[in-house]
Symmetry: D2
């Protein structure tokens, strides 16, 4: 930690900072300059002292406090240099050499819609079925999902076609019921900092797909993962799904750079959602290719038998034909970067 | 609603859009131009058709869909032209002529800290005591609040000095217990789109202070309020607390323009939080003055007996002296815009 | 300057950094910790070493380089603690005790329009006439201004009613001609980092109104001012005119917090433009009041005799009635913060 | 164009809008609804009426004006469905089937540095040499470039190794001299809306590399290109180079989605700059791969013989080894998407 004191600060201010840092177990060096005085401290446990560290900002004559170590620990590559592979069973591993394809409808609408989608995506090469049973919607007048009935349909469709299930949980009171049906619990972008939910899924035995908040910095995403990890569940996948910027042509700006950045900071696998990330069907393919080229471990894609009758997110859902045409193109780019696509489910 | 079809669209596409709109009860006029074809529709109930409206974006040849009515209804000034006054009892009314001052520590740390702060802010003119018992923290290693013990202290201090209580609730399972102690339930910025929490506080009899999400548009804030209102609770205050921008000098960028905008769109009262909004003590006073000048109905300010020992948010907390000096300055600006400050509590 | 080296760095890396810093005249202290090694350096002239400092980021094992002194010097309050007052003659001083009102049409359209607007704003209390002769327009099909003829009209109208003139210059080749007609040269938001223009106006004898770039940080605005100052012209006013954020309801988000921040970092006067800053007439008054409450030294406001026939920016232009009603309200808030409005021109 | 009038508007307001639109040559349909009245108009020439269209926003009772045609014309794919190929001579074509590699130092520092870099990048497969002679720098204390001497070195090095030259021009007074040495004139991110510069390069015979402004929307970038095109020069390449967001870990957020979006809106070729776009050497390769996978026509990369002695941008410059290792990986991804890399220069 570096504490910067303002020009002309009182010697007592330097003393106060120095003594407090020593109490906290830091090795301390004050350096008194003409313009500024700097107190440099090493050796303390900054991620555990986060609140105390903040206090320095309030001290007399303190101008800035700069942390020089990571604020997260379990999720840091520095402290855990081996990459985490999340084994979902039956050979589906996220974070290994193969790129994993997760696909399915935005929302579970009916048995028929879900089963026929599961069939198509499984044949094309997906190994995980996505689909919403509890839906977060900006408007209260919007469809809120089929709930438990949706979970039942999703599980049945996945089992029929040899797929794993990922679905969102929004309410800490529902973690248990969703865990009965899903292999992967999704924490959505609006809930990335819903700490009671993070703690609750941290107690679950299911893998977690943690979506980046709409305006979350990389560090905040990693700290959200840290909440889950410190609660006891280290099987977390980080998911880039587009951030909010000034650009209005797309729903969000998909930050492909998040893939190499997160993989350089953390050992956790990184998933990319180009459907939510752009909100436009025509951008799903080019950004899927880009995500895989940049090193993504998995993609999660919205597919619907008839997008113009989809209850939600039709404009960004691929048709069956669109998905079938896209997958081999992704496979070619995956090969080019030495990351083959997983073998289609059931083969 | 306006549906724009692309250059050279098929007549069948126009027909499909037209018929679907008529089914939904709209009066429809297709206008076929050289460059674009436009189907204009009026008379339908757009806020209730939000999902169906979205489907049009997926139709063959549809380029854009433009909504022309508000997506929210209960919270709209258009449909409820009388301004909402939220009466907290004992003459404390948010949304009336008087500007209300809410103040107190970021976090309830102890009886002593809370009682002495309550005493000071009440004397200075505050009528509502703020303080965190359940704290949302970016890091899991950060203090998470005293919990129910914090609620108890807060209530006791408020009662002692004739103040009302506002405090945050983060977990839908805690709404009941927090409601026992608080007059106003705060929904924090990270939970603005935690829909299960919104629905739960919508069932409560307490007034709600709804903070704008860090990257929430005005419409999204109003739709979050609409969730609470449609669940049965129309006593909602909207709170501007700074948005996330590219600027890093301040923690957030306080959007003072939100005050007149929200008051032009909605009948709900508007509160401003310059402490969270800037993260810097020296900016609290100028931005409090600005907020009141722009028409804010209330301010919510962090005050601490000893900011450099505050567990949290010391850098943005005012000292007792700072608060005491600021209030009369705010009162002068409030007078200048015809909105006097409320009489100090207990006088 | 603080140089942070990564965990487990080679001793030679620490040596390389240390020696280079010593060559540059810094006093250096390396502190080798368990997790990180930090080299703290004080005493060098960082704002002049900006490029060399950057080089450290490329050194072997360097993780971060943190500057601890200001990157600007002439414009810093630290190095120039007396506030700059810009005297435009005839008692018009920007940065003194009085709040200065600048007003006029977005664009000079005709003699009649400009003269009648000048008459109205002068009577209401403005002392500076604004108006565009060279107009920056996002579209090439948009009106580009009357050019020199516009300058001539503006000067004549200002002289007739005892006003000073502020108008934009976009092209370094036009600085001379614009200086013949204007008292204040405006550098627009799109040109805040047009360095050849900054250098050219730095050679001029006219005062400069430097508008913040749409996505410029405070530090970048101050460095742009520094370009002008180092070229020889220290009579610079900083102007907040709204930044680009994710919110689309207003054209820009007016950052009222910029007023106290800039005044804490710099001795230069701060002007606020609520017309450009919001793009909406109904927000001009509340945000003018807010700007003055927060400490602005001047306002710059668009006024038009007939906004719905304005060539540009009608939606944000005040009518004469609107302006006449607003000024006394601003004067009341200005009084409340101890900053009276200037006496109307010609009285 | 759609004009939306507010609830309960006067019939005279509808009449006023209708008549004005008819005068402008639009076919008009007013539709009077219960909640809103909408006037839909087709057939007019919106991109030429941009100012007049704006006026409607000021009309009595008008709530919104929605444009439904493109605001740009020359640069629109709709009006020019054949993709533009920019032939720089000697087989170097940007916008054809092959991906073009542009590479070189951030800044021309010396003959030796430039020649050896040109040699290496040419052998590796680059066909265009980049390098700055006139440098835009945030700080006035930063190196401003070698100027004309830099241009001379750049041209000589390019000629020696069979490369084309791209370099930035910032000042309209310098367009002529830069054109003597360069094949492609770069307009930098800070000057994307420097309209006098755009008009000046529009008169040049050189191809233009137009960089997206730090906070420019796609439409604004295309309108900037439109300025150049309407001045007479249609040989414009659009360059994505990172946008400004809330994330601070990278210098900018590279918007890979810009590639497919711009190619769907315009016929102009799209170039990506991952060096400026991220500011971090370790991200250049993954984002180069992503850009090519997403359909970029060219890359522009910073390479330096010794990045830790680079005058500027060392942290984002590749070493010779780094560049040599990256190019074949890019070539593999380029092959996977059916866009081979150009043949190395001189072979």
């Amino acid at each position: 930690m570096i504490v910067v004191l303002r020009h002309g600060c009182a010697p007592s201010s330097v003393m106060q900072v120095t003594e407090r840092l020593q109490e906290l177990g830091y090795e301390v060096r004050p350096i008194i300059g003409v313009e500024k005085t700097v107190v440099a401290a090493v050796g303390g446990d900054e991620h555990r002292n986060v609140d105390i560290v903040e206090q320095f900002r309030s001290y007399q004559d303190v101008e800035d406090v700069i942390l020089i170590t990571r604020s997260y620990k379990y999720t840091a590559l520095e402290t855990h240099p081996e990459r985490t592979k999340i084994d979902l069973g039956d050979g589906v591993v996220v974070g290994g050499r193969e790129v994993v394809m997760m696909a399915g409808p935005c929302t579970v609408e009916s048995e028929e819609q879900t089963f026929c989608t599961a069939d198509v995506v499984a044949r094309a090469g997906a190994t995980v079925l996505r689909g919403g049973a509890f839906k977060p919607s900006t408007s209260p007048y919007s469809f809120q999902g089929l709930g438990v009935e949706g979970l039942r349909i999703l599980r049945a469709a996945a089992d029929q076609y040899g797929l794993k299930v990922v679905t969102e949980v929004m309410d800490p009171r529902k973690v248990e019921i969703v865990s009965e049906y899903a292999d992967v619990l999704q924490v959505g972008t609006r809930n990335m900092q819903n700490y009671d939910l993070l703690k609750e899924v941290g107690l679950s035995r299911r893998a977690i797909l943690l979506k980046r908040g709409m305006s979350a910095k990389y560090e905040e995403l990693l700290l959200a993962a840290e909440y889950i990890a410190t609660a006891g569940n280290e099987r977390v996948m980080l998911c880039e799904r587009g951030i909010r910027t000034f650009e209005t042509y797309t729903r969000n700006t998909l930050d492909i750079g998040a893939v190499p950045v997160l993989k350089s900071l953390s050992h956790l696998p990184v998933v990319v959602d180009p459907s939510q990330g752009t909100g436009r069907r025509d951008l799903v393919e080019p950004l899927s290719l880009a995500a895989v080229a940049a090193g993504a471990d998995a993609l999660i894609i919205e597919v619907h038998p008839n997008p113009d009758q989809a209850i939600k997110d039709g404009p960004q859902s691929l048709t069956f034909d669109g998905f079938n045409q896209m997958v081999p193109r992704i496979a070619r780019v995956a090969d080019a970067v030495g990351r083959p696509m997983g073998t289609p489910a059931g083969t």
